[in-house]
């Protein structure tokens, strides 16, 4: 009976993820940002479990589990720890004010859909239609990375881009080969660790996480 609603459910999750990306773009407080990111991860996990259940692919459970551990539990915890350590609570000014960001974001979504439409039309996977949404998520988080001027939000944008990718992998192609999944997970893990270290170092060098300090190297 779930199988009957599966497509709608998948699309529901997809829309949820897209919604969350928009929320992240518009969000200013770092803590909330992290929570939103966590929810997005959760939605991702749910989607992959559902797909795994419907298509009877154990791989998807595994990848879902990986995502759960990394994106829902570990990374948010670490980020919270970082901002507590470095007590950066606020991320007041974005380079682009929120309404404009939203407008541009909508434009991106349209672009993404129009790109994905021909592809998903000939997609036979369960949720081929969600390719567009995944692409939209990627572009949105890309823009978020551009507009945010502090380190932590940038990292979150980076990670939510990963979310978009994973979602694409899960929903569109019902899971990459296992070994690749593991590799990706490993890279993400290490990457996040390194980023964490860097954030500490940046803080001790500049005693702020504002990236405006990182503009010394340029063509003068």
């Amino acid at each position: 009976m779930i199988a009957k609603f599966a497509p709608q459910l998948i699309n529901l999750f997809a829309t949820l993820i897209l919604l969350l990306s928009f929320a992240m773009i518009s969000q200013r407080r770092i803590v909330t940002l992290i929570n939103l990111f966590m929810i997005q991860g959760a939605a991702l996990v749910a989607a992959s479990f559902l797909l795994g259940y419907v298509t009877h692919q154990p791989d998807l459970y595994v990848s879902g589990a990986l995502t759960l551990v990394l994106k829902v539990i570990f990374i948010p915890w670490m980020l919270h720890r970082v901002i507590r350590k470095l007590n950066v609570r606020w991320d007041v000014e974005t380079l682009l004010n929120v309404p404009t960001t939203m407008l541009v974001g909508i434009g991106l979504v349209i672009l993404a859909f129009s790109l994905a439409l021909p592809v998903s039309r000939l997609s036979d996977a369960l949720a081929g239609g969600s390719l567009g949404i995944a692409l939209a998520c990627i572009l949105l988080s890309f823009m978020m990375m551009i507009t945010r001027s502090k380190a932590v939000p940038q990292v979150i944008g980076f990670l939510s881009m990963e979310n978009g990718l994973i979602f694409a992998a899960t929903a569109v192609t019902s899971g990459m080969p296992m070994i690749v999944e593991f590799g990706i997970a490993l890279d993400v893990l290490v990457g996040v660790l390194i980023l964490g270290v860097f954030m500490f170092q940046i803080c001790e060098k500049f005693d702020t996480l504002d990236i405006h300090n990182l503009e010394a190297l340029k063509e003068d």
Partner: protein, 484 residues
């Protein structure tokens, strides 16, 4: 027991070992030892491939063919020479207090792991694993670039990480699309990312998806190639890291990314009837050559300048592969080889020069030829080589590229002319006073290791005058496999 096991295992093991003992005094020699073993193993592997032809290993997960085997050898070789070079260099850095034992440990183990990731990227048959290897290479090199812990190096590393991370993410999306296309042909259960299988079915892959996929792959890996305008991270990362790292970054890492793009281009050309991939690459190539040339004309920092020259040469290579055809592909491969040889040689000499002068600012480096004629002539000759002066190999490839372009893509010729001309003018005008004239420098405590420089130059010279038949055989096979 396949030598590939050693090719991949030795550096991995080395990374682990050095992670424990890298701070010791003998670690430098251990480092060289591991690189040497890797190089030997790769030579054996090469011999096997020469004799037995391409081979698929370990559930088809690894694939050695003419295209990547000589890149493997090249990588192993250059990382060996770089290791040799970095022995005295890092020692001096330690004396200057720039490196501490823990940092030395990080440096050595990351050095080995870095070469491991590159070799993995070359040898694997799985496009997903290529992606993983590229990401891993980014991570290791990020640590290497930031090893000095100065604000500058930190900034460079951060930019490097973020920009390349984002770029790589695009590449992953491209890979997913590729997988999706494969799934459409083979069905969910036999879906695969193995390049060989994809290559067999490339004719049936869906053009729409492949087009989209290639764009993302090109943008993604192109960021690591340093194609303008995705290059912004490159000069910072190359200029701020330790010189050996700059050498391998310029000499090797760019090749890996280029290799990944090539593999994808083969599939794309198979899937599409249009030459979309080629045109995109030509466009990016020309843009890189021209813009990089103009950047070159305003450099003050020597390592920064040569990293821009790397961008320019990568542009040439991209353009060559974009043109396609046997001659252009041959030229591109040749250019990849000689560029990594010569560019790393340049960075070696530049490393010594900067250590002597205590600065990377070119206006303060003078009269190398007086202090140490070998360093001076080494820099002079390798710069002449990189500027495309015969009889060095760079000239051979540029000769083929330009002459082919003049007939196949006449519209591109003026841009190449402009780019090469300006690059020549701007590099030479900076280097001449560095080499000649009266000096301001003092000799160093430890004798510089100049063997690598002259070995590289000798090889580049040989490639310009006489390409050994078997190497030529590789090139020709690889070029034909790239098709176009």
């Amino acid at each position: 027991m396949n030598p590939l096991l050693f090719v991949l295992g030795v550096p991995l093991l080395g990374g682990v070992v050095l992670a424990l003992t890298g701070h010791r005094g003998y670690a430098r020699d251990v480092n060289v030892g591991f690189s040497l073993l890797t190089f030997l193993a790769s030579c054996v592997l090469t011999a096997q491939v020469i004799n037995n032809g391409p081979q698929l290993l370990w559930h088809d997960q690894f694939y050695i063919d003419p295209l990547n085997v000589f890149l493997v050898t090249l990588t192993a070789f250059v990382s060996l020479t770089t290791a040799i070079f970095s022995r005295p260099y890092m020692r001096i850095e330690q004396d200057h207090g720039k490196m501490t034992p823990p940092r030395m440990r990080l440096y050595h183990s990351m050095y080995q792991l870095f070469s491991f990731t590159m070799l993995l990227g070359f040898t694997t048959n799985n496009l997903g694993i290529i992606w993983v290897a590229m990401e891993a290479a980014t991570l290791t090199t990020v640590l290497l670039v930031s090893v000095y812990r100065t604000t500058a190096s930190l900034e460079a590393a951060w930019k490097y990480f973020i920009l390349c991370g984002v770029g790589i993410a695009q590449a992953l999306f491209g890979t997913i699309l590729l997988y999706m296309a494969a799934e459409k042909v083979l069905g969910p259960e036999h879906a695969t990312l193995l390049w060989t299988n994809l290559n067999d079915i490339k004719g049936q892959l869906d053009p729409t998806i492949i087009t989209l996929a290639f764009v993302f792959l090109l943008i993604g890996y192109g960021t690591k190639i340093g194609m303008v305008p995705l290059h912004s991270w490159l000069p910072d990362a190359h200029a701020e890291g330790p010189t050996p790292v700059s050498a391998v970054l310029s000499g090797l890492l760019l090749n890996v990314a280029m290799y990944a793009v090539l593999r994808c281009k083969v599939l794309t050309d198979g899937a599409l009837e249009s030459n979309m991939a080629g045109q995109l690459m030509m466009g990016f190539g020309l843009l890189s050559v021209t813009v990089a040339a103009f950047f070159l004309s305003r450099q003050k920092d020597v390592k920064r300048m040569f990293s821009y020259s790397s961008i320019e040469h990568m542009g040439m290579i991209t353009f060559a592969f974009g043109m396609g055809g046997p001659v252009a592909n041959f030229a591109g491969l040749l250019h990849m080889t000689v560029h990594s040889l010569v560019k790393s040689a340049i960075f070696f000499t530049v490393g010594h020069a900067t250590q002597k002068a205590g600065t990377q600012v070119m206006s303060e480096i003078r009269g190398l030829i007086k202090v140490n004629p070998n360093v001076g002539w080494g820099l002079m000759l390798s710069v002449m080589a990189i500027l495309g002066m015969p009889p060095f190999g760079v000239f051979a490839s540029e000769f083929l590229i330009l002459t082919t372009a003049m007939r196949q893509q006449p519209w591109a010729a003026p841009f190449l002319f402009l780019g090469l001309g300006i690059a020549f003018a701007s590099i030479l005008v900076r280097v001449l006073p560095m080499v000649f004239g009266d000096t301001t420098l003092k000799p160093l405590a430890h004798p510089p290791a100049l063997i690598p420089v002259f070995v590289h130059l000798a090889l580049a010279l040989v490639l310009g005058l006489f390409i050994p038949p078997y190497l030529n055989g590789w090139y020709v096979q690889a070029a034909s496999m790239l098709g176009g």
